[in-house]
């Protein structure tokens, strides 16, 4: 399968302009024979929205923009980020990621771990998602994560336990630390996590970060794909926008899990029993 990463700089607060950008990349990907095209977090809105969340929010089942994106997903599967407002929960806004394929929504992930310290203030504007789950796709069972979700070890474990063979993360990670030889210091953190997860779960790990600058925050780029044995399959430049492709052998997950049977030997019931004990203990103290 061919996975493409659109390392773009979305237009802050302008959904229709971002839609055009998405359609342009979708067409480019379709012509390149791409199977799945991944965009960054909040790719349809830009990141630092603050009170713009309300006016940029969409319901993917009814919005005009999503009709066009769903149409484009007939040529290539699309993973795009947006602000979601569900008809059943009006006035609540989720930082969401949608997987579109052949004109329909295969899966929708709502960001579970919202960063809210230092330069981040997502809890001020967004509601928290609750689900981390894998779902079926023509290319293998897949899971979606959004930015900070990726830095919580339990997100990866849940997808692994739920049978994911492909993990797709959309990100809007600003860079910090400019002393190193290449890119921001924080980019290393994402790369190390990506490689580690690929190796220890035998999963294809796809990470698409954004670029550009919003009110002084510099998004770091450096998107990547690791194959299930932890080898880099694609790498985008730091800071600059890019469109990169990764070719993944469909048999790679099987081979990696034969060589290193960590999935076979996993014991989710042990994890569950211990987590229950830990959670209970914490509540009683």
């Amino acid at each position: 399968m061919i996975i493409a990463l659109a390392q773009i700089s979305p237009f802050l607060g302008n959904v229709s302009r971002n839609l055009d950008l998405h359609l342009e990349y979708a067409e480019k990907a379709r012509r390149a024979g791409v199977d799945v095209l991944v965009f960054p977090e909040l790719s349809l809105t830009g990141y630092k929205l603050r009170d713009l969340v309300a006016e940029t929010a969409r319901d993917p089942r009814s919005s005009r923009e999503f009709k066009k994106l769903r149409d484009a997903s007939r040529g290539v599967a699309l993973v795009a980020g947006f602000v979601e407002e569900k008809p059943s929960e009006r006035g609540l806004y989720y930082n969401s990621l949608v997987y579109l394929h052949k004109g329909s929504i295969l899966h929708l992930h709502r960001k579970v771990f919202l960063p809210n310290s230092g330069m981040f203030e997502e809890l001020r504007f967004f509601a928290r998602g609750r689900d981390v789950r894998a779902f079926g796709t023509p290319w293998g069972r897949t899971g979606l994560l959004i930015c900070r979700d990726f830095l919580h070890l339990n997100s990866h474990y849940l997808l692994f336990a739920d049978g994911a063979e492909i993990s797709l993360t959309a990100s809007a990670a600003p860079g910090r630390g400019a002393a190193g030889p290449d890119g921001f210091a924080t980019s290393r953190m994402w790369e190390i996590m990506g490689e580690t997860v690929a190796r220890t779960t035998g999963t294809v790990v796809v990470y698409c970060n954004r670029v550009g600058i919003e009110d002084g925050a510099v998004f770091a780029g450096g998107s990547f794909v690791f194959d299930p044995s932890g080898r880099p399959a694609a790498r985008a430049p730091y800071v600059d926008s890019a469109f990169v492709l990764a070719e993944i052998d469909p048999a790679a997950v099987r081979r990696a899990r034969q060589a290193m049977p960590l999935k076979r030997d996993d014991r989710p019931e042990v994890t569950l029993a211990n987590l229950e004990r830990i959670v209970r203990r914490d509540e009683n103290q």
Binding site: G13, N14, G46, A178, A179, V239
Partner: protein, 270 residues
Amino acid sequence: MKINEPFVEKILTAFIKEELGKRGFKKAILGLSGGLDSSVCAVLAARALGPKNVIGLRLPYGKGKGGDFEDAAEMARVSKIITRTIDIAPMVDAYFKKHPTRERLLKGNKMARERMSVLYDWSAREKALILGTSNKTELLIGYGTIHGDMACAINPMGDLYKTQVRALAAHLGIPERIRTKAPTAGLWPGQTDEKEIGLSYDELDAILELLVDDRQTPDEAVARGWAKAKVARIINLVRCSEFKRQMPPIAKISARTIGHDFLYPCQWDR
């Protein structure tokens, strides 16, 4: 304290270009003092926007003369930006003739604000956005005139300590004389930053980095060998100048108030 200079240059030129573009500007304007910070900022702006889109104003008090004034001319020449000289003495003198003072700090601050007043006027005349040149050291200890040299539309330099600006200057090919002369706020003749603050920039930056970037407590900074009095003095400077780094607080009365719960990004695409 180390920075990757080519990477920082890339980020800051992208910042200037992108922030200007989003605000609908192609040109930038800044005051050229002949000092390190404005020289670095001029070169970054010239590389980001093209030198013909950058205007450097030389704003001497009186007839321009002396090393700094010549260095400002040299920087305009080296960076190929457009330059213009405006003497602020007539405006400043007219004011102090009516309201005399012997306090040189009052005079110096008035001059800094007069320069910024001229810059905002030329910003509107030239449709050029004002670039701030305050570095992280100055901003943290509040060593600047509020609404004077601290005013600007965007500030590419504000997350670089003085010693980092110096490293970046060498990478950008700023003439050695400008890089090595004693930094001065230029509030009165013979003033130097380090004499007035009572600490060298090397000391200031090292202690600030420990306290701010590395989140060390004052006691931890002292345990690393820094004099307790110096650490205490820096903390006091930082605390006393917080007002210079913030928008003025607004008394909240209504259901939705600017700065409290009316919160928008500075500029978005429309």
